[in-house]
Amino acid sequence: MLRFIAGRLALIPLMLLGVSGVVFAMLRLGRGDPALDYLRLSQIPPTDAAIAKARALLGLDRPLVEQYLSWLWDAVRLDFGVSYATRRPVLDEFLYYLPATLQLAAVALLVTLAVSVPLGIWAARHPDKPPDQIVRGIAFIGVSMPNFWLGFLLVMVFSVWLGLLPPLGKGGIEHMLMPVLAVSLMSLSINARMLRTSMLEAGGQRHVLYARLRGLSDRNVTRHHILRNALLPIVTATGMHIGELIGGTLVVENIFGWPGLGRYAVSAIYNRDFPVLQCFVLLMTLIFVLCNLIIDILYAWLDPRIRMFAEGQR
């Protein structure tokens, strides 16, 4: 097990190196000059002299390879440079905005699990009856609706029409309700449907039939013999949902004025703020990879067959 984890961890630096190269190249291959954006933000007329000066100021006048290597050298030492737009260290800003994003994503994950599991069980216990159809309806809407559109609809109903919830900003629970719902509805829908399917599958297996024959209560059978076995796919799906939720958070933050990484990154895209985008992609990759690793470990821990297989390979 430890070897498995160590092996996976060892791959991460290589992966980050690859990602950094690709991102660096992609940003620079696009037509466009951050110096012009810098001048636009500064409201300085873009004369040739002004552009040359801005390029020198931003370090864009050096050869590409040199730019990449010096960036890489600094990045290894956790110095991701200075934002073109705000002139502040990128890592400081990233770490400043990260907690707000993680907070939103974590609450969304909790809500996803807390709502989808009961819904899935409820649907599985009444297949093709009204409860199942209700859950199917919710899932249908949830999966089809883009999160930013849902966000705007929520704002229109709860902030503009009813005046119940604040439309933007960070503060108490009332500020979180709408963004969390907008972010989590899709994952929640997928999860509920998936749990229903896998529970019905597990419910048809022989050990469940045997348990029922033994005279165990319905509740006991559902809990210990069906749900336990049906949960494994959910764990895998949750790993993917973490990515989905963080991704969704990035989009939704812009709508709800949530001071997190998403808004920071979107502004950086508009301003062609290369240092910010490079750091952003790299660190988000790291977060995803680590989350997936944790899920894999969890998976192995939950399912003895996988654990045995991994250990048997030694």
Binding site: P45, A50, K53, A85, R87, P167, I255, G257, P259, Y264
Partner: protein, 521 residues
């Protein structure tokens, strides 16, 4: 009525005197980003409206284009226009208690000029030869040439405004400041990244004190979110170009008829016609284009009536710009006649005209993700097609677009003037610079050399009559040569929430006169 007003005034006074019993009054505004460290001598990420709240100039630019005393009570100019001597106000202190005097002024000028190359986009930065503090309240500026727009450039929000000398680091203000301490009506009290900036009233301000206690500026990058925040009362004010989309503004105008306003023309949105390229090198074609585009149609259909139709390159409210030009009126028949006269004819009933086997086809370049420009481009395309000109729309990413502007790679290209207080002198000055669309567009004019010489002259002449005549010549020539297709005079929207009383516009795009805004009764 008057008695009621006096009573109201006394009531307010009583409230003010009663002090602590009064609740803090806060005006909430929003901006796309935090205001930054508010270094008065630096550019991005310092937001200009924030710099204008904290720092003040020697002289103030007014909406009518004149310049009036501000931190300087007066000035004299030497006969040759090289030496400006300013008398400073004696009752001004920075918000940290430091006295504002000639030494402070000189310290600020010197730290700005220490990194002169950062500011040399502004001609004044190149023109200053010497700065002197003659005594506590007399400051002298010596120039290399008789550059006439000195006062207007001193009125700009940056870089020639004043920070308290103790807040200037030993190495100068080029990279950072110690604290944002100015003489203005507001002080920056708190910044929370990504959330808000809080300004509080400067209690030691020398001028009329602001009525609101605080200005809270929330960070809202998205125009739709801003509109929602206004409707729910989370912000009290929408002010400035680009804060909300024209359709939302039109809706607010209908919803709150007494709470919206449109500013004076700020800039001119226009299309530059390339005189150095066929077929726009033909004056008849350029004139025909000017007669064929239905600007009122554009204003009504694309801009929801929120902007004004433009008649010339500069709106007549700009200095020296009211020179009595005759606008090209919308008259497709006249446009067709002009094209016929120039030999561009429809052969065998074809929709597109041609001359000597060459079709009358022009590229119109716009910024691809600018929905408004695209919509306007489509109207122009339809209008010109009616008179037999085939317009090819080229929508590109903004950087590629700017490269075309600089290199003259266009038949027609969108552009805009720079607004007060840069118009007309800075804008005209840039027409001599090859990396500008205007230079490229004018390159085909036989009188381009003469035009550039006149522009050079108008900036340094000390003779007011001569300056007027030169401006008249330049603007008339550009108009008669139809180098531009002026579309609209862009204006900024203002929507005030129920917490605000009567509010108005500042003299330039980025100056929001918060200090004059009263709360609603």
């Amino acid at each position: 009525m008057r008695i009621a007003r006096i009573l109201a005034g006394l009531a307010i006074l009583a409230l003010l005197v009663s002090g602590p019993a009064r609740a803090e009054t806060t005006l909430t505004y929003s901006w796309t980003a935090n205001v930054g460290p508010l270094n008065p001598h630096a550019y991005a990420p310092n937001e200009m409206f924030g710099q204008a709240m904290v720092y003040e100039p020697l002289v103030k630019y007014h909406a009518d284009g004149t310049v009036a005393p501000w931190l300087a009570t007066g000035w004299t100019v030497s006969g040759d226009g090289h030496v400006y001597t300013f008398t400073l106000r004696r009752d001004v202190k920075f918000s940290d208690g430091t006295v504002f005097d000639a030494a402070a002024v000189k310290a600020n000028f010197d730290t700005v000029l220490a990194s002169r190359e950062r500011h040399n986009w502004l001609e004044l930065a190149n023109q200053i030869r010497r700065t002197e503090a003659l005594d506590a309240s007399t400051f002298r500026l010596t120039l290399k040439e008789a550059y006439y727009p000195v006062l207007r450039e001193l009125a700009l929000i940056r870089p020639f405004r004043f920070i308290s000398p103790p807040a200037i680091p030993a190495e100068g203000t080029a990279d950072k400041i110690i604290a944002p301490i100015g003489t203005g009506p507001w002080k920056l009290a708190e910044t929370r990244l990504g959330e808000y900036d809080l300004f509080v009233r400067n209690e030691t301000y020398w001028g009329p004190k602001p009525v609101f206690d605080q200005i809270l500026v929330k960070v809202i990058p998205d125009p739709n979110s801003r509109a929602v925040a206004f409707e729910t009362g989370d912000i009290d004010l929408i002010y400035g170009a680009g804060q909300i989309s024209p359709d939302v503004f039109a809706r607010f105008q209908a919803m709150y008829p007494n709470k919206t306003a449109v500013s004076q023309p700020l800039t001119t949105e226009m299309v530059a016609l390339n005189t150095n390229r066929a077929p726009t090198n033909d004056l008849f074609v350029r004139k025909a284009i000017n007669h064929a585009v239905d600007k009122d149609g554009i204003v009504d259909s694309v801009l929801y009536g929120t902007q004004k139709r433009a008649a010339a390159l500069f709106a007549p409210n700009f200095p020296y710009a009211d020179v009595g030009l005759h606008p090209y009126i919308y008259d497709p028949a006249k446009a067709e006649a002009l094209l016929d006269e120039a030999g561009w004819r429809r052969i065998d009933g074809e929709a597109i005209r041609a001359k000597e086997g060459v079709k009358l086809r022009i590229e119109l370049c716009y910024v691809g993700n600018n929905a408004q420009q695209k919509a306007i481009a489509e109207v122009i395309q339809a209008n010109l097609r009616k008179i037999g000109i085939d317009v090819m729309l080229v929508g590109e990413e903004s950087n590629a677009f700017e490269t075309r502007q600089r290199e003259g790679e266009f038949g027609m290209i969108f552009g805009e003037t720079w607004g007060a207080p840069y118009d007309p002198h800075s804008f005209i000055s840039s027409m001599r610079v090859p990396s500008h669309a205007d230079y490229q567009a004018q390159l085909g004019l036989p009188l381009k050399g003469e035009l550039d010489a006149k522009i050079g002259e108008v900036l340094v002449t000390v003779d007011e009559t001569k300056r007027r005549r030169l401006y008249r010549d330049i603007l008339t020539a550009l108009h008669e040569e139809a180098v531009y297709l002026p579309l609209t005079y862009s204006t900024a929207p203002l929507v005030a929430g129920p917490k605000l009383g009567a509010v108005g516009f500042g003299p330039s795009v980025s100056e929001i006169p918060f200090e004059t805004y009263p709360p609603a009764n």
